[in-house]
């Protein structure tokens, strides 16, 4: 019987694999797979942390380069985790911003539920 934390981490690994298996079929994320993963699953993270005057695509490129520690043009799981740590931190920050409902502020969330 898995714990909540174990299930959540298994879910995250599952998401990783869904994108890593796209062409080529392997256990690595190419830049395109990485980009698709973030755009399709981590919109709040991208919106909240993109630096000013930077496009989302440029930001994703920077994240990819930063994560690719051995510079082989693809991310293995532990390299991907370094980006995921930032996504976790953003999720934690958001949990402290939205107790009941969003107050007026920088967040222009019009209820996009993917």
């Amino acid at each position: 019987m898995k714990t909540d934390l174990e299930l959540a981490l298994d879910c995250i690994i599952n998401v990783y694999h869904q994108y890593a298996v796209k062409k080529p079929i392997d256990d690595y994320l190419s830049k395109d797979e990485f980009s698709a993963l973030l755009k399709e699953n981590a919109q709040p993270f991208l919106r909240n942390t993109v630096p000013p005057k930077t496009s989302i695509n440029d930001y994703i490129s920077k994240l990819f380069t930063r994560a690719d520690a051995n510079h082989n043009g693809r991310l293995k799981f532990t390299e991907f985790m370094t980006t995921l740590n930032r996504v976790f931190i953003d999720a934690h920050n958001r949990s402290h911003k939205h107790p009941a409902h969003p107050e007026g502020g920088h967040d222009h969330d019009h209820g996009h539920s993917p």
């Binding site: 898995k2 714990t3 909540d4 934390l5 174990e6 299930l7 959540a8 981490l9 298994d10 879910c11 995250i12 690994i13 599952n14 998401v15 990783y16 694999h17 869904q18 298996v21 079929i25 256990d27 699953n41 981590a42 709040p44 520690a69 051995n70 799981f77 532990t78 985790m81 370094t82 995921l84 740590n85 996504v87 976790f88 931190i89 999720a91 934690h92 949990s95 402290h96 993917p114």
Partner: protein, 121 residues
């Protein structure tokens, strides 16, 4: 339910978890679990050693079962290693280091890889 294990590098079958497995739901769960323990003692958004120990013991038993992690000093040492600013509390940002270890372990398990050797480049 168990995947066929033809080789160590075989990709796992896509599993279906109870409920709706999305990244956003998983993130909320992780944050929620963190808060369940951080609120127990001391500052509500920080993990004391007792909070940290309880969290891992109760929420990460699979991780602790392997590689001699049940050694009594293991959690103490892990806490010290995670507490980067040495304030005897682990903040969420510091805790992500532990999440990375837990995820790496779970990923290796799925691929039937060795769990105890350091990460290969």
């Amino acid at each position: 339910m168990s995947a066929s294990t033809q080789g160590t590098t075989a990709l796992p079958e896509t599993r279906h978890f109870p409920g709706h497995c999305t990244l956003e739901v998983a993130l909320k769960t992780v944050v929620d679990v963190y808060h369940r323990y951080s609120t127990r003692e001391g500052k509500p958004d920080l993990l004391s050693f007792n909070d940290f120990e309880a969290l891992l013991t109760e929420q990460a038993p699979t991780f602790l079962q392997a590689c001699n992690r049940k050694n009594p000093n293991y959690l103490r040492n892990l806490f010290k290693e995670t507490d980067l600013n040495k304030d005897r509390e682990v903040a969420f940002e510091e805790f992500t280091m532990v999440l990375a270890k837990l995820s790496d372990d779970a990923h290796r398990l799925i691929h039937h890889q060795d769990r105890c050797t350091p990460d290969k480049p």
